[in-house]
Symmetry: none
Subunit: 204 residues, 4 copies
DNA sequence: GATGAATGAGCGTTCATTCAT
DNA sequence: GATGAATGAACGCTCATTCAT
């Protein structure tokens, strides 16, 4: 009661934060339907009754989890943006995917599997929410292809991201992380083969 | 005794059959967790209590649904096997996928999305079951690549099937059937580009 | 179809009989409530749907099982009645009880435990039915005590049968057949101690 | 903070308590299998769904009911322990049994009948639980016989407790409370007849 | 008589959400 | 803001009994 308010605000913030992170993790592992509010509360170390102070419904928690995934994605692309060559950025993205191969083999892509589960519902646009996060990734990838001067960058983005979702799904269904490794190498080779000429600054 | 006995057997068979088909359809649309036995019973026009005469648990119904998907797959590949050229068979497969674009955009690949949902559970090897059906598809595709005389037919199979799962997932997440069309065309072009020389019988 | 009818009648009879015996056994082991008609049908090797041709309800099967127990009891007392001395008959009865110690330690007295379960119900006098079988035993025991010339033979019968029910229950609850052995010996000694003078043929 | 917090704790405690008491009573009257959670909830005046906040399963409720019986037993023996003479303690126990004759004639001994029902199951050691409560009674009785200086106090305890269980069962099966009275008197006389000499402090 | 199949009421249990303090 | 407790609507599953042949 005598604590400076700042700390309390921070406590509240960290509780919200903890709930978002916990939801993202637990839902990734168990799926939305098999995850109970109690599961999330336990993982976040928040009393069950208190969850509803921060999130009005379970769906709101799921939306928040998607926000977490978007944030992770942003962190990743921000790091890659520091690379000068767009092709290297894309290859860095693929390498990041491959580095998560064990998690993918066990639980699939966090955003992709969430999208699959949410797309089975008709209720309030929760399903669209997952699409939005995937769209973020598509947009960033498309931008790289555009900077490479390649034709149909949007189509290429769909191909690359689709390949990632597909290989994650197969690795998961077959419970085999090697799928991520071998298909990741294929993607790297494919990226290298695209558009022989560097897009810019090429001396004659 | 002189009645055509087939009728009774057929009645029984059709009820089991109806339940399997209904499960496959309803689960494709709603997911396993959001599908109740009552949903399935209604869709199959079977009294709720009677479902358990044919399937002891809900999980058994899901396994049966996977069996339905395997059966459909088999029907499809059997048809394609009548084509002489393995490359044409694979292209026929891709065209079959694209023809299902609206369903894919709304509910994803029946087997793939089921695999995603089942892989979130630890209990009895139900999850492996979905992997097995996907493996059937992979094996058939691999065989076609092998007949084409291409190197690493297994890796190519993973690439093709992965591309299908990925584009289905994206079409579903973005609610856009066009993804199936454009990415399908990419796959057709890719198949045509593989292994310039026909595998056999090429005159000099 | 061409069999002599006699055999079929016998088949019917043996089916009824098999159902009664199966019910008695299965109910002794599992209790009434935990025994399903399917359990009984399986144990009797009778198709489920056919059970209702012989017994209109599950309760009727339980009554029939009580009849089986009454029949067994009658067989036992008929054998003991061949002994000349009533005291020896009673001691024979006790020895018969002790010989069943392993069954008693596992499942209790068939009639006693059935009475306990049925007495928890208010519906149609099924509960009284079990009391009737126990009454048969009490009456026979009372008659032996009467022939011994002992006072209050009815009270003595309650004591002896009560001791049997009590030791069966304890052996069962403690899962210890030795209870039957040691308490049986106590009963034998007690019987020997009753009414010093033989009831008849005593020379002056 | 300054509120009498006891009230909340007491409320929680009383709800658990009410559920235990209600379970003990209802199960005594109806048996475990014929008692539904709704029955117990109604008797305890607790909403059905709330029962599971206090007890995870029906079996846990049954264990709690056995605990209630153990507690009652303890209260009874604690009272009897205030008597100086072990023989009087045992006679007091018998008189307590007889005083419950109407309940016994209607529903049998609460612990004994519960033991009978539970012993029909193989699942988790719930059956052993009932044996443990009976063992508490046996141990106390044995101690009294030991203090009386009698040989084989354990065997005597089995005899006394067995007689109680037997007469309860017969009173119940015959729906006759008089069985409790007359057999109770027999037990009192038997106790008086044991070991002519007082165990200690006998003046020469 | 014999039999597999049908039927529906009911039970134990779960869980998102709300409430009282 | 924080919290244990409360609530009730479902859901999966069982089973005695009935039905159609």
């Amino acid at each position: 009661m005598t604590d400076p308010k700042g700390s309390r605000t921070k406590t509240v913030g960290s509780k919200r934060q903890r709930l978002m992170v916990a939801t993202a993790q637990v839902v990734h592992r168990q799926g939305v339907e098999r995850t109970t509010i109690a599961d999330i509360a336990r993982a976040a170390d928040v009393p069950v009754g208190n969850v509803y102070y921060y999130f009005k419904t379970k769906d709101e928690l799921v939306v928040a989890a998607l926000g977490e995934h978007a944030r992770h994605l942003r962190t990743l692309t921000d790091g890659l943006d520091r690379l000068a060559d767009p092709r290297e950025r894309l290859k860095g993205l693929v390498r990041a995917w491959v580095s998560q191969r064990d998690l993918a083999a066990r639980y699939g892509c966090p955003t992709g599997t969430l999208a699959v589960e949410l797309d089975k519902r008709d209720d309030g646009g929760l399903d669209a929410e997952a699409g939005r996060v995937i769209r973020l990734l598509l947009d960033w990838v498309e931008q790289q292809f555009r900077e490479l001067g390649l034709a149909d960058p949007g189509g290429l983005a769909l191909t690359l991201v689709g390949a990632y979702q597909g290989m994650s799904l197969l690795a998961n269904a077959l419970r085999d992380p090697d799928v991520m490794t071998t298909q990741g190498e294929r993607l790297l080779a494919w990226l290298d083969s695209l558009g022989g000429a560097p897009p810019a600054g090429d001396p004659a």
